[in-house]
């Protein structure tokens, strides 16, 4: 594990009091870094919607196979169980696991063999779950699980920071607004994919790179692009972005 990246990540995940803090960018940081630090193939994050559903908010890759699988997790699977009970849930090998038949089929089709779901929890409040996927069957490295849970914990505390804990209104506003921002991002992916002839995951990368290089929030860029007030140029031909 990259110790320097790990400590940098912890520092960044605690930096939530900044004026331009954005939940979506913050959760993308969590999924991206988890995927880089841990011995896993993919990472996805679902947040609880006050309507009573789990919704996909961020993932280490926007590959359709991963997003579809995560979307399915809102109905059935380790993530939902993890969220309901507020406890980690693991399946080292779907082929020998009968708990979630529909999810197991979809996960295998997506190329995954094992999953670890980690709750995003502070005391009795569970706001979502982080999912780690592996392509090879077998248990997760216990150290990876510990670090993954620590990252999820730090992120959760960051989101439920002191001001929010005092005022549940603020937390609900922030989470629901992030869920709507995720919808804007999907709409922007579609528009960009159609305009530039890309697939959805490529479109996401162009969108994200554009927002990073202009030092702006992903959700602001996505909204401005969908509303037609922002132009996003095609990546230079030959640029090795995908």
């Amino acid at each position: 594990m990259d110790g320097q990246l790990l400590s940098e990540t912890f520092v960044e995940l605690t930096d939530t009091m900044v004026a331009d803090f954005d939940v979506i960018d913050f959760l993308h940081l969590l999924t991206d870094r988890s995927a880089r630090l841990l011995d896993v193939s993919a990472v996805g994050l679902l947040l609880a919607d006050a309507r009573g559903e789990l919704r996909v908010v961020a993932a280490s890759s926007e590959a359709a196979r991963l997003l579809e699988l995560l979307q399915l997790e809102g109905d059935q699977g380790p993530c939902l169980d993890c969220f309901r009970f507020g406890q980690p849930v693991t399946s080292a090998d779907f082929s020998a696991d009968e708990r979630w038949p529909q999810f197991a089929v979809a996960a295998r089709r997506a190329g995954f063999a094992a999953v670890q779901a980690l709750p995003m929890r502070l005391r009795d409040q569970v706001i979502g779950a982080l999912n780690l996927f592996r392509e090879a069957p077998g248990g997760f490295d216990p150290e990876d699980v510990r670090v993954g849970q620590a990252l999820a914990d730090v992120a959760t505390i960051g989101l439920l920071h002191e001001r929010s804990i005092r005022r549940s209104d603020a937390l609900n506003e922030q989470l629901q607004s992030a869920l709507n921002s995720r919808v804007v991002i999907e709409q922007a992916k579609g528009k960009l994919a159609e305009r530039l002839g890309l697939d959805m995951s490529e479109a996401f990368i162009v969108l994200r790179d554009h927002s990073r290089s202009h030092n702006r929030r992903l959700s602001d860029v996505a909204r401005a692009f969908v509303e037609g007030t922002e132009t996003i140029p095609a990546p230079r031909p030959g640029a090795d972005r995908f």
Partner: protein, 244 residues
Amino acid sequence: MIWELVAEQAAVHGSGMSAGDACAAAVAGVQVTGAWLSAGSTGDGGHLMRATDGVSQRLAELQLTLGEGPSLDAFASGGPALASDLADREPGLRWPAFAPAACEAGAAAVFAFPLAIGAIRAGTLGLYRDRPGPLAGRQLGDALLFADTATLLLLNAQANGSSVADSDRQPADFPGHRAEIDQATGMLTEQLGVSITDAFARLRAYAYANDLRLTDVAGDIVARRLRLNPGPGPSPDSTRELRG
């Protein structure tokens, strides 16, 4: 359940379901004192479509006059703006003119919700209570569902002339919860050269005219098996291409 409550309201006046019915049904459904609904796709607060009592109407007017308040914030952020206790310090700092005026008008707690699906914005739903206190978890969820229902009814009404306009049936899948629907809507803005709101109207009109599920049509568009052509209406013959 929410849809039935809204239909009950519509039965009172005997015409089709409207976003105003969702607003009226939310009062009992979320257990608040009153509710108001403003329609509009720009940030100026829109126009007041429905207010269930005098205080609600006053709360809507105050925001228009003062240029600040929870409905305007909800519209701008795409998320709810919640003030469980208007007399508290936080709302006072956030809305220095609105918070005291709203208390004066008889409100103690105000909750505003965007009528939005991502970048599609149709208006806002406001709820108030004459006593302070947060919405319980279940009530917050119900308020969001009333807002979803009002959003669809408002968009239906705006899609005038198309076949979805007079449809009272409950949608099988709510956009915003299925990524393909949002992606397909985004794609259609380019294919048809229209706004995101119009793209969504065309997507639904196509599904409705062909008796298909929205998710299935969206899936075909995202997989590039189906394109819709620019043009005024959702005629299946002229729009169906590249199928299969």
